[in-house]
Amino acid sequence: MATTATIDAMRPPVPAEPGSGVYSKKLGMWVFLASDVMFFTALIGSYIVLRFGMTDTWAKPGAVLNVPLTGINTFLLICSSVAMVKAYAAIADGKKYFLRKVPGQTLQDGGLKFWLLITILCGAAFVGVQVVEYIKLVGHGFTPSGYREGSLLAEHALADPIRYGAGVGGMYGSTFFTMTGFHGFHVTCGVISMLYLYFTKVLPEKYSAQDYAGIEVIGLYWHFVDLVWIILFTIVYLV
């Protein structure tokens, strides 16, 4: 024993697990999100450079794009983020159920199954609205290569070149469809992943108050996608 004590004094102790204290799946998701930040930075940065590099003025907000519709869509996506937080909080408390009566309250208490379903529905609705928006825009003549010749928007642009940004149509279409398209792709991936989790893990009640890493990790991704949309909505639709 005496020798051990001497040795202890000679060498400083070294921690056995010098990890980050964050479990690997979550850490991996954070690192992936960092790379996704760089991806959107490339798209958004290019948009800023291209837009400010134009000699003609940009189209006025709301002239081409339907801002109220997308405003509602933004609200839907924020709602789905709230529902995701509720889902996370529910399973952290061990609530695996769909809905359950609470004595003395009119509203029932939602569990993981309920809140994750709401998240998925809101996310899917967002994608649905975006698809409708795209179809309408293309129908009006707004395409990735600009205002289609002979279309309604091309006529508008001819009549009011400042409001519709007649000189910037090509760049407007390129940046709009690329940025919102890739965001929509991210939302779609998120919805598909959540559906997968819903059927393989949530419905069979594999998550518990001790183990809900999947929900936390997909939640991180979901909030990130939501955040990107808030930036995109602001810079693409509102300014």
Partner: protein, 593 residues
Amino acid sequence: MTSVAHAKHDAHGDAHHAPMSFWQKYIFSTDHKIIGIQFLFVSLFFLLVGGLLAMQIRWQLGFPGQPMPGGGILPETMAPGGVILPEYYIQLVTMHGTFMVFFAIMPLLVGVYANFLIPLKLGAHDMAFPRINMWSFWLALLAGLIMLSGFFMPDGAPRCGWTMYVPCSARPDLSGVTTAQKLWSISIVVLGLSSVMGSVNYITTVINHRAPGMTWFRMPLSVWALFITAILGVLALPVLQGAAIMLLFDQSIGTHFFDPGAGGQPLLWQHLFWFFGHPEVYILILPAMGMVSDIIANGSRKPIFGYHSMVFAIIGIAFLGWIVWGHHMFMSGMNPTLGSTFMVSTLLIAVPSAVKVFNWLGTMWRGQLHFHVPMLNAIGFVSMFTIGGLSGIFMAATPVDIPIHDTQFIVAHIHYVLFGGSLFALFAAITFWYPKMFGRMMNEPLGKVHFWLTLITYNMTFFPMHIIGMGGQMRRIYDPTIYDFLKPQQYLNVFISYSAFALFAVQFLFAFNFLWSLKFGKKAPLNPWNDNGLEWSLPNPAPHGNWAPATPNVYRGPYEYSSPEATDTDFLPQTRKLPTDRDPVPATLSGGH
């Protein structure tokens, strides 16, 4: 609180060890060592493809207009009667660069050695996400095949140089290529995905899966370098992906990002490409530097000189690498003030790079030098990288860059750092970890012959390129003899071409040695290089799961060679417990981290 709640998830990565079928074991493997070996074979194949393209380039530059031996097998659209057409020549140049950078050197360094070494050197059972790791390999192979398929399209492979400058690459009427230009963009997007998946894995593994006692500053420099490289990969590749997607949309769905006629900006492509491209340069050299550090310490039987400064130099190079991309664009018409900023930041990189070179010299100084094949190649790396680094300082200075821009001098520089640097380091690494991968040694005398012949023919090939570049030979010209001012130095082009053919031929020694030793090499002893690394505490080749279910304890840093504490040997493995060593204390007792 959550970290405790989810503690059991980290055990998830541990493989269970039921017997597996051939397909599970070697094809759809999730074992990081097998994935590393898969990457090795695939990227050596692409290295051969890139080399064959280079030989054709050299034939054309040395003997323009003459039928190429064996060129008869090429179709009429490429080389009628074996004479290389200008359209085919630019495809050769483009695809040589693309294959070598994206599908040979990058996967050889990162795909092979990050996969193979990180878990083995850190005492982990596997990567943090073995299945994502498998996907990363298959996506890389898919990307390579998409790129290769360009040659089989009716109008041939992409033509605009490996940097794919717009508007050439965005407009088929300028490049003359429709399908293959799109395939290039698609391939790069897929490759980026593969790279990001790999890098997420490497970063998570390094942070979370180190063995007890393996603190940050006990990690081998190879792991440090691969870790920092992974960070560069995670942040740089998505930018290239974004740019490639914009290019793809310009090529296919009619967007106008790079089309000046509709307000697009060709210069934007250059900025995006080089914002990725310069960190990429360090992705291609940092892992080489790390592995060479390990091998030089081993071959010198001395601790690495200035371990901490080596780590901070890696971090410094990686950081500075983000703010220097403009030095690729001095001639693009950018503001001269901005050019000076990029010049200064570029020159700054020489400082951490020189720290590394002097530390390698300091390590060898008065060491017990063992000139085994990895050590020879590592010394080759240091000397050749120094030449390439010094010519890099030339180009960083705007006044010097203006005349030598886009000449063969640039070609000489890139090959001194990428061939003389990365590839020599890879010869060292392949030989050094060959016994760990395959359980056999590569042939020593053959390795030495290969090293010396490569060193000689390599310098004969690339050194004269500095001279013809100074003489004004442009970088991608089809036929130097049509310019009067280049005619007097054409004899150098002929000399370079003969040297290049010799250099290519010498590589078959290595290929033969590599393949022959798989079956007939000497059985490797447990620790053939008397190395301190954790990986040598396992049998050769290491079993699936590495140490699982056990985990090795780490007692010291990786460079304790000729330590006075070890009385019986001149090395002290990281796992060897001396009577004075304590076991690492459990995490719960060490307080928060």
